[in-house]
Symmetry: C2
């Protein structure tokens, strides 16, 4: 996997921006330009629209979406804060590249948070139902053969696991960790080979949780995380 070092160029995309703004406007008042831009950029980045390390020059991007440099800068600053972009003074921002060390830190945090969530899970039927739903989401995507969606479902599964702890702060932390992790997922050569085994393993974890056997669930979860870290580390190192 080569590292994309160029910078993204494109003609005017104001329509994409407006469309995204409309989608955000689903509920409350018209979203702000900065809010829209932040959400749009975030989506594009985690979708892998700009390979790791890609420069995002202020002028081209602001022209592309027909927004001012100021609004764009505010949006990018937020994404830097979320660790999806990295910023160097007078050198601009680039899409974050997740290296082996980063992976280690991500999984270290995940082990603590997810395992704790499982061990201390309250008997919350609703929260467990979300876990089960994520498992099914993955199985259906697998039947349809859409392996990218299987990957997304796997992230949903772990987000649901975290939610068992009932802490919005931990939910938010996991949201960011998984977004960061998704950056690394783009380097996978064979998504199916990576994701498929976890369908059954997640199913088993969900079943153990439904039976109330938290210790066994935590143990299985920990093994999953260890394996995933090993595989991803190998993939990223290559």
């Amino acid at each position: 996997m080569t590292i994309e070092q160029g910078s993204y160029e494109s003609p005017i995309d104001r329509s994409v921006f407006d469309q995204f703004a409309a989608r955000l406007a689903g509920d409350l008042p018209r979203p702000t330009v900065v809010e829209t831009m932040t959400a749009l950029l975030r989506q594009e980045i985690i979708d892998g629209a700009y390979g790791p390390g890609t420069r995002l020059p202020e002028e081209s991007l602001s022209k592309r979406f027909r927004i001012s440099r100021h609004s764009l800068r505010e949006a990018m600053r937020l994404l830097v804060h979320e660790r999806l972009l990295v910023h160097e003074t007078h050198r601009g921002v680039r899409v974050r590249t997740v290296d082996v060390h980063d992976l280690g830190e991500i999984f270290a945090a995940r082990r603590v948070v997810e395992c704790a969530a499982v061990e201390r899970a309250s008997d919350d039927g609703a929260a467990l139902a979300v876990v089960r739903a994520a498992v099914r989401e993955g199985q259906q995507a697998a039947e349809a053969g859409v392996w990218a969606t299987v990957g997304t479902a796997d992230l949903h599964f772990h987000q649901a696991i975290t939610a068992l702890a009932g802490s919005s702060h931990l939910d938010e932390l996991m949201r960011r960790l998984l977004a960061e992790l998704r950056l690394a997922l783009h380097v996978l050569a064979d998504p199916r080979r990576f994701h498929e085994p976890y369908l059954e393993r997640n199913d088993e974890i969900a079943t153990l949780l439904e039976r109330g056997d938290r210790t066994a669930a935590a143990s299985a979860l920990r093994t999953c995380l260890d394996d995933a870290e090993r595989q991803l580390t190998a993939a990223v190192a290559a």
Copy 2:
């Protein structure tokens, strides 16, 4: 405790800004205006310079520090992202007010993270030394009678506890949780009465950790957190 609803006004303070920038410049190249402003505002907020709910109008603040509205906006947006400020479209930003519900969420996350850190602590002598140092910092501040510093030392203690997990992500989460918590600490009528008992309790936890008795340490820590939450909840509710 009355809730400050006014907005902060003050004459020009460019000197304060420059001084802070110089302090930040200790190591690397001259810090950016936005970086400086973010750090300065963050410090002022957690020091309680602007009571909870205080409005921070863009124009007065930017004039006060002689920086542009844009730079100020970027700084404030970051602090909103850190949950120290809250933002409402067209209504500006206010200093966050931590209510009883927020306290519950903060402590729920702290219980998970800190207890997990203690239970899974590696036998890292350096990390334990930091814990011990925080205990001593509190004891010395108590001897000097500076109870605000005792409170700060207590936060350092819990930060050091979290560091036992060896995860930069968890360290960062705890940094934010404790910053949020500090907002609530300002409502304490009698800091000494609140902080003093924890000097000995923290000492005991550190001792248990040094002996390698993680289970007992985790148990003691959990009790501490429960008590602190109860006290703070009562204080905030009043």
